[in-house]
């Protein structure tokens, strides 16, 4: 009957909500949501499904998948970009409110104590790298590149960049895109052949990173963020195509894949 994990799906309390930046509607662009840790041991790159205990008007149904930003004995933390109705309501949670959460879910980033590792975060895809940096035995081998379209004040950049060689790139228009790609290419060229690239962010960025890593001849892992309903492999809504031409669930077979194992073209429509 498999193993029973009593804390896998939990109703927990919201501990703190910190707001960053401004969305067009006046609310925050990004929130850092800390909730009680029900006893999870998290591996960086894994995610959780999160929703208010009740959505309220009950017109929303699904929980939302978020990378785990940080976790310690007291709290599991998420960075949530406010992009729609669901994230807007999550951003409106207050300390003491009830939320429902299940996880930790999915695969995680490779951690290599002996090889230089380049982390590339695009927008809110920056989230999983803070836990990664904090748990890595050799932060001197790590380098972080953060590409973002919102002003940097929309993110807790000092916390994201702490303890590691980090740079951020504000992409303000299409003309900046080529410069960002050139930056990624230059950082990859600095890696030795056994270097590792990790990326999390929007699909077009992941496609570019995959191509660049292939060109640079370095290994690469990508974290995908397809739309999900269940997070546990049942709804088959989040599938991606593998290099072997199979459709597999991003929630259980991913979200972190070796770049050569996934086909990011074709099936996945923007």
């Amino acid at each position: 009957m498999g193993f029973m994990q009593d804390n896998a799906c939990q109703d927990i309390k919201v501990l703190t909500v910190e707001r960053f930046g401004k969305a067009p509607g006046g609310g925050p662009a990004v929130v850092e949501l800390a909730v009680e840790n029900p006893g999870w041991a998290v591996r960086p790159g894994q995610f959780a499904m999160l929703r208010p205990r009740d959505w309220g008007a009950a017109d929303l149904m699904w929980a939302r998948p978020f990378s785990i930003y940080r976790a310690d004995a007291q709290a599991v933390r998420f960075l949530v970009a406010v992009v729609g109705r669901g994230t807007d309501r999550l951003a409106g949670l207050a300390p003491g409110d009830s939320a429902t959460m299940w996880g930790p879910l999915g695969t995680f980033f490779a951690k290599e104590a002996e090889h230089p590792t380049l982390m590339i975060g695009g927008g809110i895809g920056i989230a999983p790298f803070t836990a990664y940096i904090e748990s890595h035995p050799r932060s001197d081998l790590l380098r972080l590149v953060f590409g973002h379209t919102l002003p940097i004040a929309a993110y807790p950049w000092p916390a994201l960049a702490a303890g590691v060689a980090a740079e951020e790139f504000h992409e303000q228009g299409r003309e900046d895109l080529a410069r960002f790609i050139a930056l990624l290419e230059a950082r990859m060229a600095e890696l030795p052949a056994e270097g590792l690239v990790l990326a999390c962010g929007p699909l077009p960025m992941l496609k570019t990173v995959k191509d660049l890593a292939l060109k640079a001849g370095v290994r690469c892992q990508l974290s995908l963020e397809n739309r999900m309903a269940c997070g546990v492999g049942a709804c088959l809504g989040c599938v991606c195509r593998t290099a072997q031409d199979e459709l597999v669930q991003v929630c259980t077979r991913g979200p972190v894949f070796w770049a050569q194992d996934v086909d990011l073209g074709g099936e996945v429509r923007k």
Partner: protein, 303 residues
């Protein structure tokens, strides 16, 4: 409180089962509760050969519900029987195999293969999937086709109960129900999803690559209750009701209009421990409302 139900020869320890397509192959939910505590598990629709399913995006959230157009992506019956069924607690909880095929010959072959397994307690015949081009809903919308498929499955099911899953996307659901029962169905389950559509007015694109999909969730509960009520009055076989169940009260509503048991579907996506919690909540609500037995409450809707 005794919640057991004798359903077309199946002994269910309670009337709460999980609906096909919302509970994977069962094992996906083992970390969230005790699978053996459920009334039964209806596994993801199986076909003879593996199916890749439809292109992405396949799901969309809608008001009080969701649309899906998965297209019966599955590993095929043989791989399920070899790899997944042995890992399910089938001695403790009935496993119902949901089967899908493109023609009656395939339905017959699939029925024989699945029914021969000790671990398969019953067959649920999918004649109502709206998301596949061939078969599926085409059989479910025509009484003669529904009868043919039912007959083919029933003839090959040995002593295993055959339950036919009906579509609400028809003019008169009782007509299909009668046709299935006359052709040998031992039970019926309903409703499958309602055909629906969602579009993005800004980008002018459909929200599903398949354009249309199946609507499920609380939004469809009134339609489901109406269909279950009509079918229970039209046929003598037991009915498994489903469509938008999100609480113990919803379970009782379906039983009140005549269902013998229910299936929980989309709510398994709301939280993965949902069905396990419902099994615990149902007797508490029954006690609170002074409902002594499901038998006495079933079909007791007042005028």
């Amino acid at each position: 409180m005794n919640l057991s139900v004798d359903f077309a020869g199946l002994s269910l320890k309670n009337p709460i089962l999980t609906a096909s397509g919302t509970f994977g192959y069962g094992q996906e939910f083992a970390r969230f509760g005790d699978l053996a505590s459920l009334g039964g598990i209806v596994v993801k629709g199986l076909s003879l050969k593996p199916r890749a399913g439809n292109p992405m995006p396949r799901i969309a959230e809608t008001s009080s519900g969701m649309l899906n157009a998965i297209g019966i992506q599955n590993m095929g019956a043989e791989r399920f029987l070899a790899e997944r069924l042995p890992r399910l607690p089938w001695k403790e909880v009935p496993i119902l195999a949901n089967l899908y095929a493109c023609d009656t010959g395939e339905y017959a072959e699939l029925a024989a293969l699945l029914a021969a397994q000790e671990g398969v307690a019953a067959l649920e015949v999918n004649i109502s999937c709206p998301n596949v081009a061939a078969g599926g809903a085409l059989f479910g919308a025509d009484p003669r086709a529904a009868a043919k498929v039912t007959e083919a499955v029933a003839k090959n099911a040995g002593d295993k109960p055959v339950m036919v899953k009906l579509s609400p996307n028809v003019t008169d659901i009782t007509e299909i129900a009668r046709a299935a029962v006359d052709a040998g169905a031992h039970a019926l389950s309903l409703i499958n999803t309602l055909t629906g559509m969602a579009v993005d007015a800004r980008t002018r694109r459909p929200r599903l690559a398949n354009v249309v999909g199946g609507l499920s969730g609380p939004a469809i509960k009134p339609v489901a209750l109406r269909c279950v009520w009509q079918v229970c009055r039209a046929v003598p076989v037991p009915v498994m009701g489903m469509g938008g169940i999100t609480s113990a009260e919803d379970v009782l509503e379906f039983i009140l209009v005549g269902a013998s048991a229910v299936q929980v579907g989309t709510a398994n996506f709301f939280r993965p421990d949902f069905s396990f919690r419902l099994v615990e909540e149902l007797p508490i609500l029954m006690q609170k409302w002074g409902i002594g037995s499901l038998e006495e409450y079933r079909g007791s809707l007042k005028p």
